[in-house]
Protein backbone atom coordinates (compact mmCIF):
# COMPACT_ATOMS: atom_id res chain seq x y z
CA UNK A 1 0.00 0.00 0.00
CA UNK A 2 1.20 3.50 -0.88
CA UNK A 3 0.06 6.30 1.40
CA UNK A 4 0.62 10.03 0.98
CA UNK A 5 -0.22 11.88 4.20
CA UNK A 6 -0.49 15.65 3.69
CA UNK A 7 2.58 15.65 1.47
CA UNK A 8 3.98 18.93 0.17
CA UNK A 9 7.03 19.57 -1.98
CA UNK A 10 8.48 23.05 -2.41
CA UNK A 11 11.68 23.45 -4.45
CA UNK A 12 14.42 25.82 -3.22
CA UNK A 13 13.35 28.44 -5.82
CA UNK A 14 9.87 28.55 -4.25
CA UNK A 15 8.06 26.45 -6.88
CA UNK A 16 5.28 24.41 -5.25
CA UNK A 17 5.22 20.99 -6.96
CA UNK A 18 2.91 19.33 -4.43
CA UNK A 19 0.61 20.86 -1.84
CA UNK A 20 -1.04 18.81 0.89
CA UNK A 21 -1.44 15.61 -1.15
CA UNK A 22 -3.45 13.08 0.80
CA UNK A 23 -4.35 9.75 -0.80
CA UNK A 24 -3.75 6.01 -0.59
CA UNK A 25 -3.25 3.35 -3.25
CA UNK A 26 -4.32 -0.17 -2.34
CA UNK A 27 -2.23 -3.24 -3.21
CA UNK A 28 -3.01 -4.56 -6.69
CA UNK A 29 -4.62 -1.30 -7.87
CA UNK A 30 -4.05 0.30 -11.28
CA UNK A 31 -4.02 4.06 -10.76
CA UNK A 32 -3.58 6.72 -13.43
CA UNK A 33 -2.25 10.06 -12.21
CA UNK A 34 -3.22 12.66 -14.78
CA UNK A 35 -2.86 16.38 -15.22
CA UNK A 36 -1.39 19.04 -17.44
CA UNK A 37 2.35 19.53 -17.87
CA UNK A 38 3.82 21.04 -14.73
CA UNK A 39 0.83 20.00 -12.58
CA UNK A 40 3.06 17.92 -10.29
CA UNK A 41 2.41 14.36 -11.60
CA UNK A 42 6.07 13.48 -12.09
CA UNK A 43 6.97 14.85 -8.66
CA UNK A 44 4.59 12.26 -7.16
CA UNK A 45 6.31 9.46 -9.12
CA UNK A 46 9.76 10.77 -8.12
CA UNK A 47 8.76 10.91 -4.46
CA UNK A 48 7.56 7.27 -4.55
CA UNK A 49 11.04 6.12 -5.67
CA UNK A 50 12.78 8.58 -3.28
CA UNK A 51 14.30 10.59 -6.08
CA UNK A 52 12.71 13.56 -4.34
CA UNK A 53 11.95 13.94 -0.65
CA UNK A 54 8.81 15.74 0.56
CA UNK A 55 9.30 19.02 2.37
CA UNK A 56 6.27 18.23 4.53
CA UNK A 57 4.08 15.21 5.26
CA UNK A 58 4.68 11.46 5.19
CA UNK A 59 5.02 8.91 2.38
CA UNK A 60 4.54 5.34 3.56
CA UNK A 61 5.18 2.38 1.27
CA UNK A 62 4.26 -1.07 2.58
CA UNK A 63 4.51 0.22 6.15
CA UNK A 64 7.89 1.86 5.54
CA UNK A 65 8.03 5.64 6.07
CA UNK A 66 10.30 6.83 3.28
CA UNK A 67 9.81 10.57 3.90
CA UNK A 68 13.25 10.90 5.45
CA UNK A 69 14.86 7.78 4.00
CA UNK A 70 18.64 7.50 4.50
CA UNK A 71 20.82 7.56 1.36
CA UNK A 72 22.06 4.05 2.17
CA UNK A 73 18.47 2.70 2.21
CA UNK A 74 17.43 4.14 -1.17
CA UNK A 75 18.92 1.22 -3.19
CA UNK A 76 16.92 -1.23 -1.04
CA UNK A 77 13.67 0.67 -1.77
CA UNK A 78 14.37 0.91 -5.50
CA UNK A 79 14.96 -2.82 -5.80
CA UNK A 80 11.37 -3.31 -4.64
CA UNK A 81 9.75 -0.81 -7.00
CA UNK A 82 9.83 -1.21 -10.79
CA UNK A 83 10.24 2.07 -12.65
CA UNK A 84 9.44 2.92 -16.29
CA UNK A 85 10.27 6.30 -17.78
CA UNK A 86 9.28 8.23 -20.88
CA UNK A 87 12.95 8.55 -21.94
CA UNK A 88 13.56 4.82 -21.28
CA UNK A 89 16.77 5.33 -19.26
CA UNK A 90 18.57 2.32 -20.65
CA UNK A 91 22.33 1.82 -20.35
CA UNK A 92 23.43 2.50 -23.93
CA UNK A 93 26.68 0.55 -23.63
CA UNK A 94 24.92 -2.60 -22.49
CA UNK A 95 22.89 -5.03 -24.56
CA UNK A 96 19.21 -5.79 -23.92
CA UNK A 97 20.08 -8.83 -21.80
CA UNK A 98 22.83 -6.96 -19.94
CA UNK A 99 20.48 -4.05 -19.17
CA UNK A 100 18.01 -6.45 -17.60
CA UNK A 101 20.55 -8.59 -15.78
CA UNK A 102 22.21 -5.44 -14.41
CA UNK A 103 19.12 -4.80 -12.25
CA UNK A 104 19.68 -8.25 -10.71
CA UNK A 105 23.46 -7.93 -10.47
CA UNK A 106 23.20 -4.75 -8.37
CA UNK A 107 21.50 -6.72 -5.62
CA UNK A 108 24.02 -9.57 -5.79
CA UNK A 109 21.89 -12.18 -7.57
CA UNK A 110 23.76 -15.32 -8.62
CA UNK A 111 24.47 -15.96 -12.31
CA UNK A 112 22.28 -19.06 -12.26
CA UNK A 113 19.25 -17.08 -11.09
CA UNK A 114 19.98 -14.29 -13.62
CA UNK A 115 20.22 -16.79 -16.48
CA UNK A 116 16.83 -18.16 -15.48
CA UNK A 117 14.93 -14.88 -14.94
CA UNK A 118 16.21 -12.76 -17.87
CA UNK A 119 14.82 -15.02 -20.67
CA UNK A 120 11.53 -15.26 -18.76
CA UNK A 121 10.97 -11.50 -18.58
CA UNK A 122 12.16 -11.05 -22.16
CA UNK A 123 9.51 -13.52 -23.20
CA UNK A 124 6.82 -11.65 -21.23
CA UNK A 125 7.63 -8.43 -23.13
CA UNK A 126 8.14 -10.27 -26.44
CA UNK A 127 11.79 -9.45 -26.97
CA UNK A 128 13.38 -12.89 -26.75
CA UNK A 129 14.92 -12.44 -30.21
CA UNK A 130 16.57 -9.08 -29.42
CA UNK A 131 18.67 -10.29 -26.48
CA UNK A 132 22.05 -9.17 -27.80
CA UNK A 133 21.00 -5.89 -29.45
CA UNK A 134 22.11 -2.54 -28.04
CA UNK A 135 19.34 -0.02 -27.14
CA UNK A 136 20.22 2.28 -30.04
CA UNK A 137 19.39 -0.54 -32.46
CA UNK A 138 15.82 -0.90 -31.12
CA UNK A 139 12.62 1.03 -31.89
CA UNK A 140 11.04 3.24 -29.20
CA UNK A 141 8.43 0.61 -28.38
CA UNK A 142 11.07 -2.10 -28.08
CA UNK A 143 13.20 0.08 -25.81
CA UNK A 144 10.19 0.68 -23.57
CA UNK A 145 9.58 -3.08 -23.46
CA UNK A 146 13.18 -3.57 -22.29
CA UNK A 147 12.58 -1.01 -19.55
CA UNK A 148 9.43 -2.87 -18.46
CA UNK A 149 11.31 -6.18 -18.51
CA UNK A 150 14.04 -4.60 -16.35
CA UNK A 151 11.38 -3.29 -13.96
CA UNK A 152 9.90 -6.78 -13.64
CA UNK A 153 13.02 -8.78 -12.79
CA UNK A 154 12.65 -8.17 -9.05
CA UNK A 155 8.97 -9.22 -9.23
CA UNK A 156 8.13 -5.83 -7.71
CA UNK A 157 4.91 -5.24 -5.79
CA UNK A 158 4.75 -1.72 -7.25
CA UNK A 159 5.45 -0.51 -10.80
CA UNK A 160 5.71 3.23 -11.37
CA UNK A 161 5.40 4.26 -15.03
CA UNK A 162 6.08 7.94 -15.72
CA UNK A 163 4.71 8.87 -19.18
CA UNK A 164 5.72 5.48 -20.61
CA UNK A 165 3.94 6.19 -23.90
CA UNK A 166 5.12 9.78 -24.30
CA UNK A 167 7.66 8.95 -27.00
CA UNK A 168 5.65 6.28 -28.78
CA UNK A 169 3.15 6.17 -31.66
CA UNK A 170 -0.51 5.29 -30.91
CA UNK A 171 -0.34 1.58 -31.78
CA UNK A 172 2.89 1.01 -29.80
CA UNK A 173 1.49 3.07 -26.90
CA UNK A 174 -1.52 0.75 -26.71
CA UNK A 175 0.75 -2.30 -26.73
CA UNK A 176 2.70 -0.89 -23.79
CA UNK A 177 -0.51 -0.12 -21.85
CA UNK A 178 -1.77 -3.67 -22.55
CA UNK A 179 1.48 -4.98 -21.13
CA UNK A 180 1.08 -2.83 -18.00
CA UNK A 181 -2.49 -4.09 -17.57
CA UNK A 182 -1.27 -7.67 -17.91
CA UNK A 183 1.36 -7.03 -15.20
CA UNK A 184 -1.37 -5.53 -13.00
CA UNK A 185 -3.54 -8.61 -13.45
CA UNK A 186 -0.64 -10.69 -12.12
CA UNK A 187 -0.88 -8.73 -8.83
CA UNK A 188 1.49 -5.78 -9.21
CA UNK A 189 0.26 -2.32 -8.19
CA UNK A 190 0.69 -0.02 -11.19
CA UNK A 191 0.99 3.76 -10.87
CA UNK A 192 0.72 5.28 -14.33
CA UNK A 193 1.59 8.95 -14.76
CA UNK A 194 0.26 10.31 -18.06
CA UNK A 195 -1.32 13.26 -19.78
CA UNK A 196 -2.79 11.12 -22.60
CA UNK A 197 -6.66 11.22 -22.27
CA UNK A 198 -7.20 8.48 -24.85
CA UNK A 199 -5.16 5.97 -22.88
CA UNK A 200 -6.72 6.84 -19.51
CA UNK A 201 -10.25 6.59 -20.93
CA UNK A 202 -9.48 3.20 -22.47
CA UNK A 203 -8.04 1.78 -19.23
CA UNK A 204 -11.16 2.84 -17.30
CA UNK A 205 -9.64 2.36 -13.83
CA UNK A 206 -8.94 4.69 -10.93
CA UNK A 207 -7.87 8.22 -11.92
CA UNK A 208 -6.25 10.84 -9.68
CA UNK A 209 -6.21 14.27 -11.31
CA UNK A 210 -3.52 16.70 -10.19
CA UNK A 211 -3.73 20.43 -10.78
CA UNK A 212 -1.18 22.98 -9.54
CA UNK A 213 0.27 20.46 -7.07
CA UNK A 214 -3.10 19.56 -5.51
CA UNK A 215 -5.57 16.74 -6.14
CA UNK A 216 -8.56 18.13 -8.03
CA UNK A 217 -10.37 14.78 -8.38
CA UNK A 218 -9.93 11.20 -7.21
CA UNK A 219 -12.29 8.68 -8.87
CA UNK A 220 -12.37 4.94 -8.34
CA UNK A 221 -13.26 4.33 -11.98
CA UNK A 222 -13.00 7.24 -14.21
CA UNK A 223 -12.23 9.12 -17.36
CA UNK A 224 -9.69 11.82 -18.01
CA UNK A 225 -11.21 15.10 -16.89
CA UNK A 226 -9.49 18.39 -16.18
Amino acid sequence: MITFEHVSKVYPDGTVAAADLDFAIEPGEFVSIVGQSGAGKTTIARMIIAEEKPTEGKIIIGGWDISHIAASEIPVLRRQIGVVFQDFKLLKRKTVAENISFALEVCGAKRKKINKIVPQVLKIVGLEKKTNKFPDHLSGGEQQRVVIARALVHRPKILVADEPTGNLDTITAHEIIDLLLKINVLGTTVVLVTHNPEIVNEINKRVITVDNGTISSNRKKGKYTL
Binding site: E51, S72, P75, R78, R79, R93, F102, E105, V106, H154
Partner: protein, 304 residues
Amino acid sequence: MILALARATKFAIQNFWRNLWLSIITVFILVLTTMSITLVVGMNVIGQQIISAVEQKVDVDLYFYDNVSEEQILQAQKYTQTIEGVADVIYISKTDALAKFRESHKDDPSIIAALDELDENVLPASLTIRAKDIEKYPGIIEAFQKSNFNTLIDRTDYSDNQDIINGITQITQRAYQIGMGVSIIFVIIAIIVIFNTIRITIYSHREEVGIMKLVGATNWFVRGPFILESVLIGLISAFITTLLFGTLLYFSDATVRAFFSGYDFSIFVYFQKHLLSFVLAELAIGVVLSVVSSMVAINRHLKT
Protein backbone atom coordinates in the same frame (compact mmCIF):
# COMPACT_ATOMS: atom_id res chain seq x y z
CA MET B 1 31.99 -9.38 -1.88
CA ILE B 2 33.95 -11.56 -4.32
CA LEU B 3 30.93 -11.65 -6.63
CA ALA B 4 30.63 -7.84 -6.50
CA LEU B 5 34.36 -7.44 -7.18
CA ALA B 6 34.22 -9.89 -10.08
CA ARG B 7 31.23 -8.03 -11.55
CA ALA B 8 32.91 -4.65 -11.08
CA THR B 9 36.01 -5.99 -12.88
CA LYS B 10 33.86 -7.34 -15.71
CA PHE B 11 32.04 -4.01 -16.08
CA ALA B 12 35.34 -2.09 -15.93
CA ILE B 13 36.88 -4.10 -18.77
CA GLN B 14 33.60 -3.91 -20.72
CA ASN B 15 33.43 -0.12 -20.26
CA PHE B 16 37.06 0.28 -21.30
CA TRP B 17 36.56 -1.81 -24.42
CA ARG B 18 33.17 -0.45 -25.48
CA ASN B 19 34.37 3.14 -25.04
CA LEU B 20 37.72 2.45 -26.64
CA TRP B 21 38.28 5.92 -28.12
CA LEU B 22 37.58 7.71 -24.88
CA SER B 23 39.77 5.17 -23.06
CA ILE B 24 42.62 5.68 -25.54
CA ILE B 25 42.40 9.48 -25.16
CA THR B 26 42.43 9.20 -21.35
CA VAL B 27 45.43 6.85 -21.51
CA PHE B 28 47.15 9.28 -23.92
CA ILE B 29 46.61 12.26 -21.60
CA LEU B 30 47.75 10.21 -18.59
CA VAL B 31 50.88 9.11 -20.49
CA LEU B 32 51.63 12.77 -21.32
CA THR B 33 51.09 13.66 -17.68
CA THR B 34 53.29 10.93 -16.26
CA MET B 35 55.88 11.56 -19.00
CA SER B 36 56.13 15.25 -18.13
CA ILE B 37 56.38 14.48 -14.41
CA THR B 38 58.97 11.77 -15.11
CA LEU B 39 60.97 14.05 -17.41
CA VAL B 40 61.14 16.86 -14.86
CA VAL B 41 61.90 14.57 -11.93
CA GLY B 42 64.28 12.54 -14.16
CA MET B 43 66.16 15.67 -15.26
CA ASN B 44 66.50 16.56 -11.61
CA VAL B 45 67.91 13.13 -10.77
CA ILE B 46 70.24 13.15 -13.77
CA GLY B 47 71.40 16.66 -12.83
CA GLN B 48 72.26 15.43 -9.34
CA GLN B 49 74.15 12.46 -10.78
CA ILE B 50 76.15 14.68 -13.14
CA ILE B 51 77.01 17.12 -10.36
CA SER B 52 78.19 14.29 -8.13
CA ALA B 53 80.27 12.96 -11.06
CA VAL B 54 81.87 16.41 -11.40
CA GLU B 55 82.43 16.49 -7.64
CA GLN B 56 84.41 13.27 -7.89
CA LYS B 57 86.72 14.96 -10.37
CA VAL B 58 87.67 17.67 -7.87
CA ASP B 59 90.91 17.05 -5.99
CA VAL B 60 93.59 19.03 -4.16
CA ASP B 61 97.28 18.90 -5.09
CA LEU B 62 100.05 19.55 -2.52
CA TYR B 63 103.34 20.53 -4.23
CA PHE B 64 106.55 19.84 -2.29
CA TYR B 65 109.80 21.86 -2.22
CA ASP B 66 112.50 20.47 -4.50
CA ASN B 67 114.73 19.53 -1.55
CA VAL B 68 112.14 17.28 0.10
CA SER B 69 113.11 13.60 -0.11
CA GLU B 70 110.84 10.89 -1.47
CA GLU B 71 110.86 9.23 1.98
CA GLN B 72 109.45 12.38 3.60
CA ILE B 73 106.80 12.64 0.92
CA LEU B 74 105.75 9.02 1.47
CA GLN B 75 105.50 9.70 5.22
CA ALA B 76 103.32 12.73 4.43
CA GLN B 77 101.19 10.49 2.19
CA LYS B 78 100.79 7.95 5.00
CA TYR B 79 99.78 10.69 7.44
CA THR B 80 97.31 12.27 5.02
CA GLN B 81 95.56 8.95 4.49
CA THR B 82 94.73 8.89 8.20
CA ILE B 83 92.92 12.24 8.09
CA GLU B 84 89.15 11.87 8.38
CA GLY B 85 87.25 12.28 5.12
CA VAL B 86 90.17 11.37 2.86
CA ALA B 87 89.25 8.85 0.17
CA ASP B 88 92.58 8.56 -1.61
CA VAL B 89 96.07 10.09 -1.64
CA ILE B 90 98.17 9.62 -4.77
CA TYR B 91 101.90 10.31 -4.87
CA ILE B 92 103.19 11.83 -8.10
CA SER B 93 106.98 11.93 -8.24
CA LYS B 94 108.95 14.53 -10.22
CA THR B 95 109.52 11.96 -13.01
CA ASP B 96 105.80 11.03 -13.11
CA ALA B 97 104.85 14.71 -13.16
CA LEU B 98 107.15 15.34 -16.15
CA ALA B 99 105.81 12.29 -18.01
CA LYS B 100 102.25 13.43 -17.33
CA PHE B 101 103.04 16.95 -18.45
CA ARG B 102 104.66 15.71 -21.67
CA GLU B 103 101.69 13.45 -22.34
CA SER B 104 99.13 16.18 -21.88
CA HIS B 105 101.09 18.62 -24.09
CA LYS B 106 102.24 16.17 -26.74
CA ASP B 107 100.34 18.07 -29.44
CA ASP B 108 102.01 21.36 -28.57
CA PRO B 109 105.53 21.28 -30.14
CA SER B 110 106.60 24.66 -28.68
CA ILE B 111 106.08 23.43 -25.09
CA ILE B 112 107.82 20.11 -25.78
CA ALA B 113 110.73 21.99 -27.37
CA ALA B 114 110.92 24.30 -24.33
CA LEU B 115 111.02 21.27 -22.01
CA ASP B 116 113.85 19.74 -24.07
CA GLU B 117 115.81 22.99 -23.72
CA LEU B 118 115.83 22.66 -19.91
CA ASP B 119 118.61 20.66 -18.30
CA GLU B 120 116.68 19.64 -15.23
CA ASN B 121 113.16 18.58 -14.34
CA VAL B 122 111.50 21.73 -12.95
CA LEU B 123 108.22 20.06 -12.07
CA PRO B 124 107.66 19.43 -8.35
CA ALA B 125 106.66 16.15 -6.70
CA SER B 126 103.12 16.26 -5.33
CA LEU B 127 100.37 14.47 -3.44
CA THR B 128 96.87 14.46 -4.92
CA ILE B 129 94.18 14.27 -2.25
CA ARG B 130 90.67 13.07 -3.04
CA ALA B 131 88.01 13.51 -0.38
CA LYS B 132 85.03 11.24 0.18
CA ASP B 133 82.78 14.27 -0.02
CA ILE B 134 83.38 17.69 -1.51
CA GLU B 135 82.47 19.34 1.79
CA LYS B 136 85.35 17.52 3.58
CA TYR B 137 88.16 19.41 1.79
CA PRO B 138 88.36 22.42 4.16
CA GLY B 139 88.70 20.09 7.18
CA ILE B 140 91.34 17.91 5.48
CA ILE B 141 93.43 20.90 4.45
CA GLU B 142 93.17 22.39 7.93
CA ALA B 143 94.33 19.11 9.51
CA PHE B 144 97.27 18.90 7.11
CA GLN B 145 98.26 22.51 7.73
CA LYS B 146 98.42 21.83 11.48
CA SER B 147 100.80 18.89 10.97
CA ASN B 148 104.63 19.05 10.78
CA PHE B 149 104.42 18.06 7.11
CA ASN B 150 103.04 21.47 6.23
CA THR B 151 106.57 22.94 6.27
CA LEU B 152 107.52 20.66 3.36
CA ILE B 153 104.84 22.16 1.14
CA ASP B 154 105.79 24.81 -1.37
CA ARG B 155 102.25 25.54 -2.52
CA THR B 156 98.81 23.96 -2.99
CA ASP B 157 96.06 24.52 -5.53
CA TYR B 158 93.48 24.43 -2.75
CA SER B 159 92.62 28.13 -2.97
CA ASP B 160 92.07 27.74 -6.76
CA ASN B 161 89.94 24.68 -6.18
CA GLN B 162 88.14 26.24 -3.26
CA ASP B 163 86.21 28.49 -5.64
CA ILE B 164 85.28 25.47 -7.78
CA ILE B 165 84.29 23.48 -4.69
CA ASN B 166 82.16 26.31 -3.34
CA GLY B 167 80.70 26.88 -6.81
CA ILE B 168 79.73 23.24 -7.20
CA THR B 169 78.22 23.12 -3.72
CA GLN B 170 76.17 26.20 -4.55
CA ILE B 171 75.15 24.86 -7.97
CA THR B 172 74.11 21.56 -6.40
CA GLN B 173 71.89 23.28 -3.89
CA ARG B 174 70.48 25.73 -6.45
CA ALA B 175 69.86 23.00 -9.04
CA TYR B 176 68.03 20.96 -6.43
CA GLN B 177 65.88 23.91 -5.37
CA ILE B 178 65.05 24.94 -8.96
CA GLY B 179 64.46 21.31 -9.96
CA MET B 180 62.08 20.76 -7.07
CA GLY B 181 60.27 24.03 -7.77
CA VAL B 182 59.81 23.21 -11.46
CA SER B 183 58.79 19.63 -10.59
CA ILE B 184 56.12 20.83 -8.17
CA ILE B 185 54.69 23.28 -10.75
CA PHE B 186 54.66 20.56 -13.42
CA VAL B 187 53.07 18.03 -11.08
CA ILE B 188 50.31 20.50 -10.17
CA ILE B 189 49.63 21.31 -13.87
CA ALA B 190 49.66 17.60 -14.73
CA ILE B 191 47.24 16.77 -11.90
CA ILE B 192 44.84 19.50 -13.04
CA VAL B 193 44.97 18.26 -16.66
CA ILE B 194 44.36 14.61 -15.82
CA PHE B 195 41.72 15.45 -13.22
CA ASN B 196 39.76 17.43 -15.80
CA THR B 197 40.15 14.73 -18.46
CA ILE B 198 38.77 12.07 -16.14
CA ARG B 199 36.05 14.44 -14.93
CA ILE B 200 34.90 14.94 -18.53
CA THR B 201 34.98 11.16 -19.09
CA ILE B 202 32.81 10.55 -16.04
CA TYR B 203 30.57 13.52 -16.92
CA SER B 204 29.80 11.72 -20.18
CA HIS B 205 28.60 8.77 -18.06
CA ARG B 206 26.48 10.86 -15.66
CA GLU B 207 23.22 9.62 -17.21
CA GLU B 208 24.44 6.04 -16.86
CA VAL B 209 25.30 6.64 -13.20
CA GLY B 210 21.77 8.00 -12.64
CA ILE B 211 20.21 4.93 -14.29
CA MET B 212 22.34 2.56 -12.21
CA LYS B 213 21.12 4.30 -9.07
CA LEU B 214 17.50 4.17 -10.27
CA VAL B 215 17.60 0.40 -10.60
CA GLY B 216 18.91 0.09 -7.06
CA ALA B 217 22.70 0.11 -7.35
CA THR B 218 24.53 1.18 -4.21
CA ASN B 219 27.14 3.96 -4.48
CA TRP B 220 29.96 1.44 -4.22
CA PHE B 221 28.45 -0.74 -6.95
CA VAL B 222 28.43 2.31 -9.24
CA ARG B 223 31.90 3.48 -8.18
CA GLY B 224 33.54 0.06 -8.41
CA PRO B 225 33.73 -0.30 -12.22
CA PHE B 226 34.83 3.34 -12.66
CA ILE B 227 37.60 2.94 -10.10
CA LEU B 228 38.78 -0.35 -11.60
CA GLU B 229 38.67 1.21 -15.07
CA SER B 230 40.88 3.99 -13.69
CA VAL B 231 43.27 1.40 -12.26
CA LEU B 232 43.38 -0.27 -15.70
CA ILE B 233 44.04 3.09 -17.40
CA GLY B 234 46.75 3.85 -14.80
CA LEU B 235 48.43 0.45 -15.37
CA ILE B 236 48.42 0.83 -19.17
CA SER B 237 49.74 4.40 -18.91
CA ALA B 238 52.54 3.35 -16.55
CA PHE B 239 53.54 0.55 -18.92
CA ILE B 240 53.56 2.87 -21.98
CA THR B 241 55.45 5.61 -20.11
CA THR B 242 58.12 3.15 -18.94
CA LEU B 243 58.49 1.83 -22.48
CA LEU B 244 58.64 5.31 -24.03
CA PHE B 245 61.04 6.66 -21.43
CA GLY B 246 63.30 3.60 -21.70
CA THR B 247 63.40 3.93 -25.50
CA LEU B 248 64.09 7.67 -25.24
CA LEU B 249 66.99 7.08 -22.84
CA TYR B 250 68.36 4.22 -24.95
CA PHE B 251 68.58 6.38 -28.07
CA SER B 252 69.80 9.52 -26.31
CA ASP B 253 72.40 7.66 -24.21
CA ALA B 254 75.21 8.04 -26.79
CA THR B 255 74.60 11.77 -27.15
CA VAL B 256 74.49 12.33 -23.41
CA ARG B 257 77.63 10.23 -22.91
CA ALA B 258 79.44 12.30 -25.57
CA PHE B 259 78.29 15.51 -23.92
CA PHE B 260 79.64 14.40 -20.55
CA SER B 261 82.76 12.71 -21.89
CA GLY B 262 85.30 12.09 -19.21
CA TYR B 263 82.61 11.47 -16.59
CA ASP B 264 81.50 7.92 -16.01
CA PHE B 265 77.76 8.45 -16.41
CA SER B 266 75.23 6.65 -18.61
CA ILE B 267 71.57 7.56 -18.20
CA PHE B 268 70.41 4.30 -19.75
CA VAL B 269 72.53 2.25 -17.30
CA TYR B 270 71.17 4.41 -14.50
CA PHE B 271 67.60 3.71 -15.76
CA GLN B 272 68.28 -0.04 -15.93
CA LYS B 273 69.69 -0.05 -12.40
CA HIS B 274 66.62 1.75 -11.05
CA LEU B 275 64.04 0.08 -13.32
CA LEU B 276 62.01 -1.47 -10.51
CA SER B 277 61.68 1.73 -8.50
CA PHE B 278 60.97 3.58 -11.76
CA VAL B 279 58.14 1.21 -12.68
CA LEU B 280 56.72 1.39 -9.14
CA ALA B 281 56.85 5.19 -9.22
CA GLU B 282 55.11 5.26 -12.62
CA LEU B 283 52.44 2.89 -11.34
CA ALA B 284 51.94 4.99 -8.24
CA ILE B 285 51.66 8.21 -10.27
CA GLY B 286 49.38 6.73 -12.96
CA VAL B 287 47.09 4.71 -10.73
CA VAL B 288 46.84 7.21 -7.86
CA LEU B 289 46.20 10.15 -10.21
CA SER B 290 43.48 8.40 -12.20
CA VAL B 291 41.80 6.70 -9.22
CA VAL B 292 41.70 9.84 -7.06
CA SER B 293 40.43 11.93 -10.01
CA SER B 294 37.68 9.46 -10.83
CA MET B 295 36.66 9.10 -7.16
CA VAL B 296 36.27 12.87 -6.83
CA ALA B 297 34.52 13.17 -10.22
CA ILE B 298 32.05 10.34 -9.65
CA ASN B 299 31.03 11.46 -6.19
CA ARG B 300 29.43 14.53 -7.80
CA HIS B 301 26.98 12.28 -9.63
CA LEU B 302 26.12 10.01 -6.71
CA LYS B 303 24.11 12.53 -4.75
CA THR B 304 20.58 11.20 -5.60
